[in-house]
């Protein structure tokens, strides 16, 4: 890292305070264009809250968030989506009364003027169909296009979370525990999907499963009590005593 590439995402002194709780307190964090980054840390470390400040769900109490050189600290979530920030949700956040394909349509059209077509035909265009079917194929949902989301299994809903993220072409893609609660076979699918993403998409992955996360990324941020505890390569993280203390140690105790 002698000549660091231009950062896509740059956080400076970002603090998110909930009453007395300082959920996020990140002095500096920088993610380069095209980088694959994992954010790990025990439950309650502030990982999801960090994502919420990056995507605009929460406005940080103080600090500055820059995306591609622009200050986005106070921008609304849909504006940040327009700049190319996309995410998946740790707690499944889909459109439960709609079909899989309607969920995909909404994911595809979020940044397209067609979303304002008030009396036009709602059918998929050929281009939309090919993107949607590709994403559904990758997430093994090709046969489930007309299923209503609330009737689907938890695993299928998690797969749809991913398919929706894949169908837009974001510059920064934030995955919040995409494999949480999935079977080993389903986790392999998730890993495959993350690996198959085009290299120009920058990826930040929150993941509890160390083995899964460390195999997918270039660099790892370990958070603890809102702060960045260690930032290092996957190999160094594996052997880092502090990380093992707060993270692996605890995980082992739980297991």
């Amino acid at each position: 890292m002698s000549n660091p590439p231009k950062p896509l995402l740059d956080l400076t002194a970002v603090v998110m305070q909930f009453g007395a709780l300082r959920a996020v307190d990140v002095a500096a964090m920088s993610i380069a264009i095209g980088e694959r980054r994992a954010v790990i840390g025990p439950n309650g470390a502030g990982k999801t809250t960090l994502f919420n400040t990056i995507t605009g769900v929460l406005r940080p109490t103080s600090g500055r968030i820059a995306f591609d050189g622009h200050d986005i600290t106070r921008q609304l979530p849909h504006r940040r989506a327009k700049l190319g920030i996309a995410r998946t949700f740790q707690i499944t956040n889909l459109f439960p009364t709609l079909s899989v394909m309607d969920n995909m349509k909404l994911a595809l059209r979020g940044l397209k003027p067609r979303k304002f077509s008030m009396f036009g035909d709602g059918a998929l265009t050929a281009e939309e169909r090919s993107i949607a079917e590709h994403a559904l194929g990758m997430t093994r949902l090709g046969e489930r296009q007309s299923a209503i989301v609330r009737d689907m299994s938890y695993g299928e809903q998690r797969q749809l979370e991913l398919a929706m993220a894949l169908s837009s072409t974001p510059r920064l893609l934030l995955f919040d525990e995409p494999a949480a609660g999935l079977s080993p076979a389903e986790r392999t699918i998730v890993a495959e999907i993350v690996r198959s993403l085009p290299r120009d998409i920058t990826v930040v992955l929150i993941e509890h499963d160390m083995d899964l996360a460390l195999g997918l990324v270039d660099y790892v941020t370990c958070m603890y009590e809102g702060r960045v505890l260690v930032e290092a390569s996957p190999a160094e993280i594996r052997s880092n005593a502090t990380v093992q203390d707060v993270y692996l140690g605890k995980a082992r105790h739980h297991a």
């Binding site: 394909m101 309607d102 349509k105 940044l111 979303k115 709602g122």
Partner: protein
Amino acid sequence: MTDGERRHPAWVSWASSVGVLAVLATLPFVLKSYHLGIATQILIFAILAMSIDVLAGFSGRTPLCHGAIFGTATYFVIYSVNIWDLPLPAALLVGVAAATVLSAVFAILAVRVSGVYFLLLTLALGLVVWGVCLRWSQVTGGENGLRGDLRRGALADIKVFYAIAAATSLFAYIAMRRFVNSPFGLTLRGIRDSESRMASLGYNVTLHVFLAFVVSGFFAGLAGSIYAVFNNYVSPSAVALPQSVQGLLMAIVGGIGTLVGSYVGAALIIMLELFVSAFTERWQIVLGSVFVAIMLFAPEGIVGKINQLTRRHSQSKNTNP
């Protein structure tokens, strides 16, 4: 096949469209004037109920101000014929325009809240309109209201007016159905299901709800304008809270999020009111009981319940090998 909305095969919708048109076309020849007037009223109030359904059923925002929007159109139509001497078609346009502008103002104020806050805020906005109509008596005639003379010439014939109301109602239904099935309509159902997901996908939720509110207000105004011609009279009760509640009840009883349910709800409530009020002055108690029964046994409304049953039926057929 991938369209999750389409529940029936194409021939069913064709057959039912033809059937409905045939019934609508036959009514003037079989009903007495009085009953044709009731049918006309049902067709008009169904437009109001559908305009409410666009927000309550498809956007997840239940309004209690649509009576005020509806009645504002009624006031404007009668006023502009009486005082400005406008020809009726122009007066109808003024009524729709006034209602649309009013709904845009309401929308700006109410669009940022949802749930019970939306309900209460729109209720309060409706009350303001009612207060103005009641107090500004130089213009609105206060409690006495305004009497119009709108049913001149051919319009005096209820058959002619029925035909106009039916055509307007049909137009409103087709337009609103197209609206809710459009790409924009899908964004409203997305907002109903998850606003945070919509925002993260790049949708400006506030803007979409604002636009839906204005479209909904346009159709409520259309209903109110036609009603002005039907009723030839307007008083503060046209913009009062019970009007908003009744429109909402029609949509709910028929089936929220179904559009056609509004016709069933309007027919049920209007006929029930006429029938029961012949026997007792306390017809609202009966209406209340019917409403409670429907909420208990078919909370998705009559059409909603029918859709649910037919879907379950076709699913059990499909799962058979």
